[in-house]
């Protein structure tokens, strides 16, 4: 669906509403789909990821689980291998360390290690991101960590429209999918979202294929590649530059990290020659390096200038001026665009 068609649907939704709508639809369609996690039943998910599901589907299908991430995420792996389609929610991606074996050794590798005789059709949903001063154990983004490890598809929506389409796809996919939603985009009452993620959303189900980046803003001078919250910051930066007669930036939203749509990035950089990659994850060994390397491997001569903006390899600090200093904002992105355009 083009962006014009999206506009034509009229109805808007928050990203959390859009996610829940897709989950509810799939649960209605398929008895084998169920949701489990901490505080997902009565609370409706700390980040509103399951609001209303308990009322419709009951405790058998919307399960509060013990604070035992190893057990319930591993149980999702087992249920998926038994043919069900579990969705397991890890409340904060930072908690992955508690249960990482079940994620990267079991969930992600069992298909491969079984020679393809076993599939693990589960979705691991998890909240990512900072920007609310909660310090280093509740603010990480960790896109690179999950995308680095083979065997799981990694999805990072930035708008309600994308969130719904990608969730339908995630649940129907026969492979494990890690669905990483940014807290700041969800439209939670106590954590105001920017305007961008609340978009028109069709009521009927639809899918967005994995591995198709979306050009959120077209531009001729500089290619900005990003994902999640920083899509909105990049668009804001691009618009402000355009308003002041600065460089015209194209903003590419990756939408999925595995599979990664390198083609769209390479094509855009072929036109602009100038690349800015923005990521809320740590700088080293992450998304920014992967994107730059992908372009360079394809055609080193395509790159006239590159800037990477990411968290500079420090744990996320608590105090507001410290967190603001390490998390790229729209002004920093605008500056990077100007720099590569010079």
């Amino acid at each position: 669906m083009s962006s014009q068609e999206q506009q034509a649907t009229g109805r808007t939704a928050t990203m959390s509403d859009a996610m829940v709508e897709a989950v509810a639809h799939e649960m209605r369609e398929d008895e084998e789909v169920f949701y489990m996690g901490e505080d997902v039943a009565d609370y409706g998910g700390i980040f509103d990821s399951t609001t209303g599901l308990l009322d419709e589907f009951g405790r058998d299908r919307v399960m509060d689980v013990p604070i035992s991430e190893t057990a319930y995420i591993g149980a999702a792996v087992g249920a998926a291998q038994a043919g069900m389609r579990p969705i397991a929610e890890l409340m904060f991606v930072d908690f992955a360390g508690v249960c990482f074996d079940q994620i990267y050794n079991q969930m992600a590798k069992n298909t491969y290690m079984s020679g393809g005789s076993v599939s693990v059709p589960m979705v691991l949903t998890t909240a990512v991101g900072g920007d609310y001063n909660d310090a280093a154990q509740h603010s990480q983004t960790l896109y690179g960590t999950f995308a680095h490890l083979p065997g799981m598809k990694v999805v990072v929506p930035s708008t309600a429209y994308d969130a719904k389409g990608l969730m339908h796809n995630a649940i129907r996919d026969d492979d494990p999918v890690v669905y990483m939603f940014h807290k700041r985009l969800m439209g939670i009452g106590w954590m105001p979202a920017p305007d961008g993620p609340k978009t028109p959303v069709p009521e009927e189900p639809y899918t967005i294929p994995f591995g198709e980046a979306d050009v959120k803003r077209e531009g001729d001078d500089v290619t900005v590649v990003t994902l999640g919250l920083h899509v909105h910051r990049a668009v804001e930066a691009a618009e402000s530059l355009a308003d002041e007669g600065g460089p015209d930036a194209e903003v590419i939203d990756l939408r999925t990290l595995t599979p990664l749509d390198r083609e769209t990035v390479i094509e855009s950089v072929a036109d602009t020659g100038r690349l800015v990659v923005v990521d809320e994850d740590y700088r080293s060994f992450g998304v920014t390096g992967e994107i730059v390397a992908s372009v360079a491997e394809h055609d080193p001569s395509a790159l006239e200038a590159v800037e990477r903006l990411a968290v500079p390899d420090v744990p996320i600090p608590y105090s507001r001026p410290l967190e603001d200093a390490i998390n790229p904002d729209a002004a920093a992105i605008a500056e990077a665009i100007r720099t590569v355009a010079e």
Binding site: Y132, A302, V314, P321
Partner: protein, 340 residues
Amino acid sequence: MFEDMVTARLYEERLQNEYMEGKRPGFDISAGEIPGELHLAAGQEAAAVGVCHHLRDDDTVTAPHRPHHVAIAKGVDLDRMTAEIFGRETGLSSGKGGHMHLFDPDVNFACSGIIAQGCPPAVGAALAAKKRNSDAVAVAYLGEGAIDQGGFLESLNMASVHDLPVVFVVEDNDWAISMPKARVTTPDDGSKRADGFDMHGARVDVDDAVAVYEAAGEAVGRARDGNGPTLLEVQVHRRMGHFMGDPETYRPEADQEAHAERDSIDRLAARLREEGVDDDELDGIRDAAAERVDEAVTWAKQQPLPEADAAHDHVFTNPPEGVTSDEPEPGAGAAAGGDD
């Protein structure tokens, strides 16, 4: 004990008010003087003082994400702890940690925001004490929702097989965020977990600071005398939501009322009166505690916020060569091939 309990309660009530400054109207968690989440422990003071009043500065305490009452009972620097909660440069962690991550090495206090993950480090502190032939002990605090975590269960086993001087203190406040204990945890008496690890287990069913003190005395004494670990569960009550801003729609009103009626501070005050302490003396303790809290908050709010560059400090104690606190200059190394 009464003084610390009252200080902790008044501190929590003061933070509750300070936290809301700048967050209204329309609650915004990232606005205001105290940013981020804030998990308050009003109602849980008995578990803090009843145990920590057996401890010395060289004994280690690891606390979970709801740490203030335990920190106060352990003797953490109240001024610097408050400055940390306000994100100030002179805070315990220079503004890096915040309220869930308070570190005060002077009294061997640390905490973690990850459920049950303070247990293994407490085992490590106890292991160090044993290896050094010290009689120091370690205490790991955790909530009843945390006793289903692998990290906790593995810690019980390791403490038991190595006979380590560690006391695991489970604060049973009945709620793991929105999940009532009965729905997610068995058995009802969490101290029975000890049985499976050949370890002493005990439970104090009421939030009575004196009863906790007596039970903890046995546990800490056992550890200090080289007789191994104990799992001690203490009934407490979470008077507030899981975090500030928690709408608590999952929680029956009767539950909150019952908790308010069973107040451990009122219980201890009554006990002190029975033993001849007059109201003037209790009021004097309350006034002094209120003054102490006010001083800490006033001082903390006068402290400077950290400079932005400080975000790069403290990643390492001994930074490797090439790691500096400077970000690459914009444009440095930007040229990446091309014809020009």
